[in-house]
Amino acid sequence: MSYLRLGRTILAAALAVPLALGATADKAQAETTLRVIPHADLKNLDPIWTTAYITRNHGYMIYDTLFAMDENFEVQPQMVDSWTQSDDGMVWEFTLRDGLTFHDGAAVTSADVIASLERWGARDGMGQQLMASAAGMEAVDDSTFRLTLSEPFGLVLESLGKISSNVPFIMPARVAATDPFEQITDFTGSGPFVFQEDEWVPGNTVIYTKFEDYVPREEPASAAAGGKVAKVDRVVWQYFPDNTTAMNALMAGEVDFFEQPAPDLAPIMEANPDITVEVNDPLGNIGFARFNHLLPPFDNADIRRAAIMAMGQEDYLASAIGDPDFWKTCYSVFPCGTPLENDAGSDVMATGDVDAAKAALDAAGYDGTEVVIMQPTDIPVLSAFSLVSADKLRNAGFNVKLEAMDWATLTSRRASREPVEEGGWNIFHTWWIGADVIDPMAIAFSGNPDAGWFGWAEDAELEEARAAFARATTLDEKTELATKAQERLWAIGASGQLGQFFVPVAYRSNVEGLIKSPVQFFWNISVE
């Protein structure tokens, strides 16, 4: 090749790059893309098979729900157009909105709804309670179905409109026929976005495109309720394992929205005039120190209460979260700012006094039994919670052993009811999103050791209050029963509650229309 030809080749290659970039730019102008850093990697796609929050969020992208919770924590119709309830509350009839179609073009029918609810009811806690109270479901016609109860159940709409895992998403009947303990392989939904399966790279990228045939409700978007108007053509979820790189990508304009930046990065991002950092989830998260009620020393309620007395929330939140703008103390077991918030029995949690804890521990007859705290070192917030608990309990006189492990090991070990020396445990820490513990029906508040949460609290009075709550129909009744449940939870020292903390979102100035909600939604958002 002569030098002249070589030169021409290089020149042609150099020109080709801007031309190619120009073509890409034209395409980008034609289609709008919202580039998102989600809070976790989307590892699996079945929101009924797993309770993972990222899979729930994926579910909201591609599926729709019969009812949905609005920003005032009230249930509103979503796929449902109208419904009736018999005088005795035992027979419910629901009629679907016109124009609901799946991504493959098929109409959403009553058969799809019934099959979806049955699958959800086999896995979800509230779904199981609804199904246990149901005599059956039947299709009246293609768009109307009937739910008949066998016993009173006051949370029919709350169950169908629950905002967090497992959400009763509506799938085609052929998909919902999948064994609830097996993952689905067909991702046809009827939600505002379509999942692009062939572009999914687990651990890195998930792509959704706007579902052109989706018919949104006319009401404005309000949390999970209202019109789900897709205002961008594509939503790209790009998972970042490293928070600092995610922040750098946002600052460089390579992404538009960062769902859960570490709060300690907030000041750096706030210094950038193109970036807004704000709390988008009004309920935040509630920290928990969970005792194993089956093993000594925490098989004794007085010793559990003594431990709780030592746990001042401020120290946990300051060490794990840092910036006081992103946390607040909250001694109600139901998130502060929600309708059932109350202070019944919460003095024990508000104590935060080592001397009082020491005295209570002596009075309870603690014999120095070793307390094993599981510390998940791969989750910074929980690792910090564990360290604070170890310190506080030691100061109060407990004999504490901190065992470091990863979260996967903890999730496996916490299921063990065996003694510590055979793989058991005494305390682990976690958090629930506020929306998951909004009322006494949450599994975190169970008093039934056979069907309850790890730690296996047992209290008949608590279970009576929860059962009555499930049957209650008025807010007054519900408030009274929730208060009673809370009293029992503190009386038996079910868990230490470590306060309410908020993980902010960060986004660039080209993003508009964020919805305030405990769950991050991507409809209603536009990008310039």
Binding site: D41, T51, G203, N248
Partner: protein, 314 residues
């Protein structure tokens, strides 16, 4: 030679068998249960048991092992517990960024390190030599993530010359985008390999420069450049090639930090994510894959020796 290659390839089979058994046993002995991770907070013990059953984890261990081996013999590395995708497909999605990053890193490292090491050896004790050694010590000492963040801060956030993160395929998106995305990760990773190869080159060349045949070449009146390039460097190449081969193997399996800092969807991150989630089929498949690559690279390195040093025969 052909018989030797055949023998070496045949030897990979028992080696892979031992690796498979070892990996399987190690994973089952490690604490953690993927069913518990999937089931989440709401699950009862019965739910977890049903998930374990669906995943085939409730079978006796020897049944699980032989089922896996039988699939392997049919060319099936298994299916991810979490994503439901075939492991071979997941490796296929991730192999390109990892391989190309390894390639660019090793090429850049060789281009910089071999001349540097050779010059340092030729001018041993001089200022140039000390500079090369200082760079080597620095290259070994600076953690990859620190260097990565510094480069991102300078070249991406301040100068805006290069993107912060991501990967673009040269095959589907063109060579320009590929180079702009791969430059910073390559620079970050290269520093340690430049340090390693430069030191090895320097030591080897210094040793060779003291040989009799070098003195003879000089006595015959050959120029210093010829002595260096034709006699010294070629004879010093065997240990250098060994280090480069080990470097490639390390780059393919062990660049998880760089992949995380630059958000490159490569094999290192795939294996880390799988370990954290206890996704057994992915871990097993990847470790087998890595061990195969190591065996293959070792074979290639051994064969390269024969070209560099005609005295080596198999």
């Amino acid at each position: 030679m052909f018989a030797y290659v055949l023998k070496r390839v045949a030897m990979t089979i028992p080696v892979m068998g031992v690796v498979a058994l070892f990996v399987f046993a190690l994973l089952r002995l490690a604490p953690g249960d993927p069913a518990a991770v999937i089931a989440g907070d709401y699950a009862t013990a019965e739910d977890v048991a049903r998930i374990r059953e669906q995943l085939g984890l409730s079978e006796p261990l020897f049944v699980q092992f032989f089922t896996w081996v039988w699939s392997l013999l049919q060319g099936d590395l298994g299916t991810s517990i979490f994503s439901g995708k075939p492991v071979i497909e997941l490796i296929g999605q991730r192999i390109e960024p990892t391989m190309l990053l390894a390639l660019t890193t090793i090429i850049f490292s060789i281009l910089v390190a071999v001349p540097l090491g050779t010059i340092a050896a030729f001018r041993a004790g001089s200022l140039v030599d000390r500079f090369v050694m200082l760079f080597s010590v620095g290259g070994f000492s600076v953690p990859v993530f620190v260097l990565g963040y510094i480069l991102i801060y300078v070249f991406s956030l301040n100068l805006r010359w290069l993107p912060v993160q991501g990967y673009r395929s040269p095959f589907t998106e063109g060579i320009g985008p590929f180079l702009s995305y791969i430059t910073l990760p390559t620079l970050t990773l290269s520093v340690i390999f430049i340090a390693l190869i430069a030191r090895m080159t320097r030591a080897s060349v210094i040793e060779v420069l003291e040989e009799d045949y070098i003195r003879t070449a000089r006595a015959k009146g050959q120029s210093e450049l010829k002595v260096l390039m034709r006699h010294a460097l070629r004879n010093a190449a065997v240990p250098i090639v060994t280090v480069i081969g080990i470097g490639i193997a390390l780059l393919i399996g062990g660049v998880v930090v760089t992949e995380s800092v630059y958000n490159i969807p490569g094999l290192g991150r795939l294996v880390l994510d799988a370990v954290l989630a206890r996704d057994y089929p992915i871990i097993q498949g990847l470790i087998l894959f890595f061990s195969f690559i190591y065996i293959l690279l070792n074979l290639l390195i051994d064969l390269t020796y024969t070209f560099l040093d005609p005295r080596i025969r198999y």
